[in-house]
Symmetry: C2
Subunit: 447 residues, 2 copies
């Protein structure tokens, strides 16, 4: 056994559940199916109960406690009935559960230490005919059933991507979904095959396991869904997370080691350490901090990303030269932009039209001739003025209405409207109280 | 008589020499021709004496004291003989004169209060066959003789361009030459015609009085030389000076006034006023000051312009964001760049290749993995590092070898090599001792 296999073997021991854990899961799923079928029997319509996800596929990681039960209703059932019956079954199965809302409402709760989602969907005949996004899931479970030779290899792959920070198709991570990992392990004949292939990936990479793909995709990784030729399973995956797999695949091949399967869990930075980092780098961090809107993460993070891009763009256009940025959320939400430039002068250059374009040129000259601006003068045949600058510091910009002129996303915009603070320079050390770990990662960035 | 004509009439009174001045000039030119012909008679070759320039064309401005006498030698005369005979004649005519060197040596001196240049050239048959640049001049005088109806209109035009700062084809000014002004007044039928046309110019503007132009020119104003179809008389004219004529032509038409014919002659700024200007604008002026190289202006200014462009480019690439720049020369020479940014942080962003381009990516990662740089990390699928910045301030940059890595021009490079000082921020106030007037113009820029 070579070094690579030896390392994988050690990882396997950690991530494959033992017999006791398997039995516990079996007991729980048996009971869940039984309870759900009993509840379905009380409904005025027929419905089919399905276990889906990694629990039923045997690819969950040791310690995972997630079970998904789907209830598949006839496609002609009106949506409001589906929602009503779905909740009715959910409440019967998980009396202490609570309602959540994705594309439609479902019940989530606990049973014997497992986190259970009880999700209603439509029993469409084919994944191309789905009416809601969750209708697709049972087809994925069906497709993979019996195709995965070694589910433990999938577990190793998931653990690797988790350690790398690239696992999870939620909109905070934009990483690899469980289904995507299983398809990749299948495609490349195991974890090692996947690692060896990924080390050589040069995005865009396109895979089509069933050879039935339709349409073009503009994503760095395209994996045509075997159950739906029009869908890219990796649509949500970011270019950065694809590159992370490529990078760490090379690392693992060059020097196989168990640490590459262990999540990086840095000590939180203290406020003093944040100040020291700012002093060392001589940059000007600027943070907008506000109460995090009370919405689910898949609602929150896309808005934070949008708002961060908007703020970064505004700071860039105003000349504060963003170097790097990040967003954090917990009780408060933070848009952090580390700027290279702390202040701009009182004047800014503003180029007018070529003097030869008479009408425009005369308008421009008249506008500025008796203004506060220096000039107009001529450079290379154009009028130029140096006019008073609107925002001399990043703080002035972010404390002005200019913040609300960038695209923020509705919940973030509302939250900012209710109030926010701007932390500049060493004042950003105050963020360490809530986001010390995030700042530690920011301060020592890795692939 | 309308307002425009009334203003021109008043300008005319100032710029047209009176009878006494004309008589004085006639006496001087008569004597010059006589002396020169006597000196030529002593030579072993035939040569023809010609008065050229505005004095003989009757277009000199009142108060001008320049007379050019050309001695035209046979085209087959070896160059070294031409130079020797030329100097011999020059010394005989102007015993107190001194030698100057343009394309070849000539003698310059004074006679009865006039500045006289005595220039040898080749008597080629046609302006297209010239052997040195000055051979062309007699053809210009010949072409204009008899064509200018009203030489006083040329005088008014020259005065206008002088006031505007756009008169003179020397390489410091890059403005309108006397010959060019005469051709333009001829083309547009007088000063008013020129002003009305120029107000509507939309460069590039092309004129070809003899309709014989050959070839394309990339200049904002093209006036094909009536004596040479392959030459643009306005080749040296800058886009800025063309735009100046356009701008002030409009001003003069909109509100005719004598002040537009008067040179702007601001009071020099004091060091305190320079400091106040810097404080008001909140910029960071950076000046490189050195002993002016001992070369003629037409050698010096193109090199200063080149060096200024190089320094400005280096400051721009290093992130100090030049706002405006200027060069001054007298005893010392100064390259002044007014920057928007005083300092950059200790780190600078450096983007590497996409992680997917394996060989480059691995090289990049290895280079930086164990370096002082922060990172490598991944952004949008690429490696990025933040490495220590080379120059944190404009002063550090300009006091380093980086100054000599930009194109400077040989004489400027030599002068800088002998030593220079860098003045930053309010220290630039020290320039006011030598360049107070130039700084006053810089500080209150006009078209």
């Amino acid at each position: 056994m070579d070094e690579f296999e030896a390392v994988v073997e050690r990882v396997r021991e950690r991530v494959v559940p033992d017999a006791e854990e398997r039995e516990r899961l079996d007991r729980v799923t048996d009971e869940l199916v039984e309870r759900t079928e009993a509840a379905v029997a009380d409904l005025p319509v027929d419905a089919e109960v399905r276990l889906v996800g990694s629990a039923v596929r045997g690819t969950w990681l040791s310690g995972d406690r997630d079970v998904d039960v789907f209830v598949r209703f006839p496609p002609d059932l009106p949506r409001e009935d589906l929602e009503e019956y779905g909740l009715q079954v959910g409440r019967a199965v998980l009396p202490d559960g609570r309602e959540e809302y994705a594309e439609h409402p479902y019940v989530t709760g606990e049973l014997d230490g497992f986190d259970v989602d009880l999700v209603p969907c439509y029993a469409v005949a084919d994944a191309t005919e789905i009416r809601t996004a969750v209708d697709r899931t049972p087809f994925h479970t069906e497709y993979l059933a019996g195709r995965i030779d070694d589910p433990d290899d999938v577990r190793v792959a998931k653990q690797f991507l988790t350690a790398v920070g690239a696992y999870g198709s939620d909109l905070r991570t934009r990483g690899f979904s469980g289904y995507l990992v299983e398809l990749l392990v299948l495609e490349y004949g195991g974890f090692r095959g996947l690692v060896e292939a990924a080390a050589d990936w040069r995005p865009p990479v396109r895979l089509d396991p069933e050879g039935h793909g339709r349409g073009e995709f503009d994503d760095p990784l395209v994996v045509i869904d075997p159950t739906d030729p029009g869908r890219n399973v990796a649509a949500v995956l970011s270019a950065t997370n694809v590159a992370r797999l490529v990078h760490y695949a090379r690392e693992l091949l060059a020097d196989p080691r168990v640490e590459l399967f262990e999540s990086r869990d840095p000590d939180p930075l203290s406020p003093g350490e944040v100040r020291a980092a700012v002093e060392r780098r001589e940059t000007t961090p600027v943070a907008v901090r506000f109460d995090a809107p009370d919405v689910v993460e898949d609602q929150l993070y896309p808005q934070l990303d949008k708002a961060l891009g908007g703020v970064e763009g505004a700071l860039d256009r105003a000349g504060f030269d963003p170097l790097r940025s990040a967003r954090f959320a917990d009780e408060t939400a933070v848009l952090l932009v580390e700027c290279e430039v702390a202040e701009r002068p009182a004047v800014e250059r503003h180029e007018g039209p070529p003097v030869g374009v008479r009408e425009h040129a005369e308008d421009f000259y008249e506008t500025y001739a008796d203004s506060e601006a220096d000039g107009p003068f001529i450079e290379d045949g154009r009028y130029v003025v140096e006019r008073p600058r609107e925002h001399r510091t990043a703080r002035a910009l972010l404390e002005s209405d200019a913040l609300f002129e960038v695209a923020l996303g509705p919940d973030v915009e509302r939250a900012l409207g209710a109030g926010y603070e701007v932390l500049v320079g060493e004042d950003s050390a105050a963020l360490a109280d809530e986001f010390g770990v995030e700042l530690a990662r920011y301060s020592d960035p890795r692939p």
